[in-house]
Subunit: 481 residues, 2 copies
Amino acid sequence: MEEKLVQEIPRKSQDLSQWYVEVIRRAELADYAPMKGMMVIRPSGYAIWENIQRLLDRRFKETGHTNAYFPLFIPESFLKKEAEHVEGFAPEVAWVTHGGQEELQERLAVRPTSEAIICAMYSKWVRSWRDLPILINQWANVVRWEKVTRPFLRTTEFLWQEGHTVHATYEDAQEEVLRILNIYKEFIENELAIKVYAGKKSDREKFAGALATYTVEALMPDGKALQAGTSHNLGQNFSKAFDIKFEDRDQKLKYAWQTSWGVSTRLVGATIMVHGDDDGLILPPHVAPYQAVIVPIFKVKDKETVLSVAENIYERLRKKFRTVYDYREEYTPGWKFAEWEMRGVPIRIEIGPRDIKENSLIFVRRDTREKVKINMDEVEEKLEELLEEVQKNLFQRSEKFTFENTRETLDYSELKEIIEEKRGFVISPWCGDQKCELKVKEETKATIRLIPLDEGDKIVGKKCVVCGKPAKHIAYFARAY
Amino acid sequence: MEEKLVQEIPRKSQDLSQWYVEVIRRAELADYAPMKGMMVIRPSGYAIWENIQRLLDRRFKETGHTNAYFPLFIPESFLKKEAEHVEGFAPEVAWVTHGGQEELQERLAVRPTSEAIICAMYSKWVRSWRDLPILINQWANVVRWEKVTRPFLRTTEFLWQEGHTVHATYEDAQEEVLRILNIYKEFIENELAIKVYAGKKSDREKFAGALATYTVEALMPDGKALQAGTSHNLGQNFSKAFDIKFEDRDQKLKYAWQTSWGVSTRLVGATIMVHGDDDGLILPPHVAPYQAVIVPIFKVKDKETVLSVAENIYERLRKKFRTVYDYREEYTPGWKFAEWEMRGVPIRIEIGPRDIKENSLIFVRRDTREKVKINMDEVEEKLEELLEEVQKNLFQRSEKFTFENTRETLDYSELKEIIEEKRGFVISPWCGDQKCELKVKEETKATIRLIPLDEGDKIVGKKCVVCGKPAKHIAYFARAY
């Protein structure tokens, strides 16, 4: 057993893809299912998702949203009602054709996203301005028949939340879209400790059926961007397709305005990739399944004393922190250190006979490996402080890396060079023409990840980095997952 | 709007089925989806499920279980590995035959339950006695192609939790099966306020592939039983079919012992049916989406005073209770009373100008309609007390009804008469022969719901109520949902 863990995983800096897959396996976050492209989320991975759910769900509820549950299956005819929507999703739908022994008259899509079934219900529920806004979220599984998959980042089935709201005016819908975008940004930065840029997608990159898509984008250690969450202003596209009308205060019948927005288990993948190192995971304390691990260290003669103190510290800490007490005797302390480092526990607490004599214990940070001697009477306060320091440090690292890899240029050959050699985000002016956007993609594999919300007069006098015509936007280009 | 609510729903005592469907619609717990047999769980219904999840998940974690997530799809060949299992479930499986544009080589079952895919993973994960026990639960959706459906009680798709555990010995597995059965009973009685009987299923009624199934059964107001949760000892049936072996401490390779267990959104249906009355839902405070509703009552001249006091009470209460403050001006207090009664909020809090002068307010219980005047300074303590009283009273009612409708007889014609005329549970001795079990079913539509765990020597000297041969068991017969 000892051998298995001491055996090295690939170095993160040398082969991120291989490191990623291996760390997921070794830390038992997920496993491949026997069906192509599907994965099993194991308890250590699912616990991260549960913390994400809890922290995000609280934010949704504080802003007036409630949860509901809509059916897994969507009749094909429903999916077809919004033309762009079906075009975007039909190629990746899994189809149910038989129920029990019978062949179905109409085949059913396993939801790739739920607009089509939710809008069908909203057209029954929305009658009057009094029914608005509708602010519903659902936590659910969705299926997209992907060709190339990678655990957490892109799998045939994944878990997510999808919000679907209905409003009386465009302005109300747009306010909701940005409210959610801000929640995503704040949540990912404060809880997952990942720096993200927020902005708008280009028309080419927007959600199938939306008026406009807003996004938060994170930078992975290999310099590729990862779309971490999206918030769509659906306009009246779906309300017209699904006949969602309401009688307004002026007694006129109007089509409603809608939004939808989601984040998925992909966030677990981003968290793994951004923070880990050559020894395994480093999990942000706010979402780590265990925030601290207690490892007692003793020789036979001290065993009783040390275990009794460790047990006592455990009982104190578990009241307030997600704590694990590793009292197993079949493993050495060294083996345990390596295992819990692999699993990314933010703080290791070592308790040995000498520490006990001094009424102290040792905290070891996973992020910096720094050791701190702590007075036993202050263990709760000090742990709380140190966890917050780790959380902050992880975010600062991510932010620093992201800033260092965000470059501006007005010159197309420099843009190409940066994308080819350094990766990261390249900020350049853009005329707004899809031709230029496509040219960049073909020549560099980079896409427009976002257009910042505050571009304001930064574009005044600027010229498109590709064609030289007057710029309409500032664009963040990057290769992406 | 007023009309819509004042309009009567069917009386519960006269037509339970119609009352059930109507109360679900009026209280907006669920709605029919456009696909046959599928439902949408609306926010008011889903909030009950969220409370169930929270309270049950806590119990699972306290007993050492963790959550994980396994794929939605199960290859047909996996489902076929355990012979009884596939026979039991194949007739009600929804089949995915196409992914994107391609026809699949092997069709995939949308999980009707997850033994087949989870066991496939366990056969990879289990190697040594050190890996045991595995105590995993998942919260998931499942699909069973049902012919006759009813919201919450039986739908094509439903939400549930399914625990799947692996143990080194039969004894460990059996201990787990009964531990979970006890958790289910305690949870349903204490949190949902529904009396249940716990026991073992007859072989005819057990889970497809199990060695033995244990069950908790509740009695609905029409005298029909409802299976509320099951816990299965799978023996080595699945470990042999899926090759789940471990090296034991004695270095011998052995097949593992397994359990599985689950409860579903059916519990929401049971809660609605057991407690409601002619005016709508009555929800147990522990799982009610709102535990209290504040309704301010005022004439124009008192408006400011009353709203400011009501607002203040709301701010105090929401810190500790799930509280809603109904300050809407477009509805009368009378309309609001009827609406919140329909929605089953356990306590209504009325605040009017006279109450304010006396520094008091009025609590109205939903279960007994009793009004109590409360000193405003004690509102938190009194609300907490009264919620517990309501919770207890609901359970006592359910228990009383269940006991009153549980009858013993040694005589077959009396058994038939009770089932026909009074319904409820009939307790009678049984020889253990499936022929007698089937005869009762054919002649009365009643099945053996359970065999009590403590039958002990109650059977000594007793004769089978059907054939007169020596009894092997005490059986609880009832018609069931």
